[in-house]
Amino acid sequence: MKLDRIFENSDTMRLLKWVFYAAAAVFVALDFVIPRHHLHFFWDEIPGFSAVFGFISCVLIIIFAKTVGKLLLQRDEDYYEK
């Protein structure tokens, strides 16, 4: 199997990137059109909420983990052998 044709080809990769951005835009746009069925929380009525929430979640997790790691948790690999 040759996956190089996809990953080593800069044209294909550029295309894939645009497909990705387009998909993100399309799904947010769809959110304005598609009716919601199960309304449990107030944000269930805000279109695009999950896009914003997904992005913020990702960034928050990275920043939180890196901070706690640096301040508290991370040690040298041979920490337990010392």
Partner: protein, 585 residues
């Protein structure tokens, strides 16, 4: 009803595995695949009911409670045993296969156990057998990890046994059902189950042990211990509110550690904790929908997590490396491993059309229906973190990213086949969720593929990916480790010993100074006694010692000095012992 009207699938696996050493080569591989296939067939053709009831020393024990809750778990346990068995069929040590199947059989036996004594018995089988799977890695590091692992599981086993005894003293029965009494009995049982489910702060044994197990061993372990604990929680503690909080914290906890992790199998181990967090929270919510969600997620999880561990194991098997900082660009040389791993990555990230999507959704719906705002928000946040680490970071750094120029190829056929079957099931359950829902404890009318749900999930995933692309430079692996609560017994223990030694040394010196003066007088008397001692007493002692040396010279030959051999011997001995009991009862 006796055992012979109903054959216990655990006995097929456990007793059948004892014959593995007598087969060689191809025949052994075939037999290794045949055993779990038989067990699966046995579970698949089973009807609900109560089987294998005995009176053992005056206690009623039930080996086969086959009902809505236990059946699904046992069925998926058998499927995972088959898939993992195929993946691990090329492992050289016969003892390793025995341990793996005793472990898998233990999980099935635990699911069907109707009373605490049977539950405890199979939980101990699982603990001992899974310890062997770590020992068979045969490094000094894995031996130490196995030791820590078994200590933790002895602790949880004792908690369960003590809790069961207290339940018995209150109710006069060992029957294992919903724990209603409360008090210390319930607390002990809960602590035991939570430890086995790897709920923090009791759960750091999992990322400590799993990355040090053998390659197929870790695949087996990723499924059985924590998910059988989820089963015990769902059976005994459904609707216990503290589980909602613990489960949610657990889900986040695993995700945060996974972001920091450099070792691929340890990263996946932290994501077991995270995913089991969803199940524990769902058990805590306790509605029929939530219990269904916990079970569905456990079933889907065992398959995709097994697949992910198989993928990571294949990388380790072919390259000998497991750190993200040592890997990169593997898609060129291991394309099939990459593709199959990604199926697992998409499934755990709940990408639509994959199994995680149809199972995780039930848990979030259950949280929504119970109007648990914060729980819902945190579990959704965890979803993003799961995709970030398992679906994006790990595959990017290991299979793509900076090419480490490693010479490797896809693993042997049996390993690819195991991954292939697991990947097929991940997609199959994703496309046809009804087959998964049919295994659930309660009747369910649930449709995951509504337009708004698909759009909703896709947005979360796509924008998580966007966040990852922003931070891609910061998320490279680092050659460090992260401290977890195992610090308290790994480092804290050493510090305690140092402190204790310091104290002992001081007291010791004081006492020995005191003695030195007193003893000067005593010495003279001792001198006289010595003559008698040398002539008479020592003569007798030396004679006995000579005999002992003579006998032990012969005994020595059965001692190989390999811990794995001893451990398997113990397991076989236990099996034999239980056979005797069953035969005479």
């Amino acid at each position: 009803m006796g055992i012979f009207d109903w054959i216990h699938p655990a006995f097929i696996l456990m007793l059948g595995s004892a014959l593995i050493p007598f087969f060689q080569g191809r025949a052994r591989q075939a037999y290794i695949i045949l055993l779990p296939a038989l067990a699966l067939l046995n579970v698949a053709t089973m009807d609900y009911g109560t089987y294998g009831e005995f009176n053992f020393l005056g206690f009623d024990v039930t080996f086969g409670r086959v009902d809505g809750l236990s059946y699904g778990f046992a069925f998926i346990f058998a499927v995972v045993a088959l898939v993992s068995g195929i993946y691990g069929a090329n492992h050289k040590d016969a003892g390793h296969h025995i341990a793996a199947y005793v472990y898998a059989g233990g999980a099935i036996g635990l699911a069907f156990a109707g009373d605490y004594l049977t539950l405890f018995l199979f939980a101990e089988f699982m603990a001992l057998a899974s310890m062997c799977l770590i020992l068979y890695n045969k490094t000094a590091e894995s031996t130490r990890a196995a030791y820590r692992y078994i200590l933790v599981h002895i602790f949880s086993g004792i908690c369960i046994l003590a809790g069961a005894m207290l339940v018995y003293s209150q109710t006069g029965s060992f029957a294992f059902d919903s724990v209603t009494g409360g008090g210390i009995a319930a607390a002990l049982l809960l602590v035991g189950f939570l430890t086995n489910a790897a709920v923090p702060p009791l759960g750091s044994w999992l990322p400590d042990a799993y990355p040090r197990a053998t390659i197929p061993g870790a695949v087996f372990m990723s499924a059985f211990t924590t998910k059988s604990a989820v089963y015990t929680l769902a059976r005994g503690f459904a609707g216990t509110e503290i589980l909602i909080v613990l489960g949610t914290v657990m889900a986040l906890y695993g995700v945060v550690y996974a972001v920091l992790e450099n070792d691929i199998r340890k990263l996946l181990a932290y994501h077991i904790i995270s995913q089991v967090g969803y199940m524990v929270a769902a058990v805590g919510i306790g509605t029929e929908l939530a219990i269904n969600g916990a079970a569905a997620h456990a079933f889907a999880h065992m398959l995709y997590k097994g697949l992910l561990f198989m993928g990571a194991g294949s990388v380790l098997y072919m390259t000998g490396r497991s750190r993200l900082t040592d890997l990169g660009g593997l898609y060129k040389v291991m394309p099939w491993t990459f593709i199959l791993y990604m199926v697992g990555g998409f499934a755990i990230s709940s990408v639509p059309l994959f199994s995680g999507f149809v199972s995780k959704a039930i848990i979030l719906s259950a949280a929504g229906e119970s109007h648990m705002t914060f729980i819902w928000l945190f579990l959704t946040l965890t979803s993003a973190g799961t995709f970030l680490s398992v679906g994006l970071k790990l595959p990017y750094l290991a299979f793509m990213g900076k090419d480490a120029g490693l010479e490797a190829k896809d693993p042997p056929l049996n390993m690819l086949a195991g991954m292939g079957i697991a990947a097929f099931l991940c997609v199959f359950f994703g496309l046809f969720p009804q087959f998964l829902y049919n295994l659930l404890p309660y009747a369910i009318e649930y449709h995951p593929y509504t337009a708004d749900h698909v759009v909703w999930t896709s947005q979360i995933l796509l924008f998580t990916a966007l966040g990852y692309m922003l931070y891609i430079k910061k998320l490279g692996g680092k050659r460090v480790i992260s401290l977890d609560t195992d610090w308290f017994y790994r480092k804290g223990g050493v510090m305690f010993m140092k402190l204790a030694y310091g104290l002992f040394a001081a007291v010791d010196e004081l006492v020995s100074n005191l003695y030195r003066h007193m003893l000067a007088g005593v010495k003279k008397v001792a001198g006289w006694c010595w003559g008698f001692d040398f002539k008479w007493v020592d003569g007798v002692v030396n004679g006995v010692a000579g005999l002992v040396i003579y006998v032990s010279g012969d005994l020595r030959r059965i001692q190989t000095g390999k811990l794995q051999h001893y451990a398997v011997t113990i397991l076989l001995g236990l099996l034999f012992f239980i056979n005797l009991l069953l035969f005479f009862s």
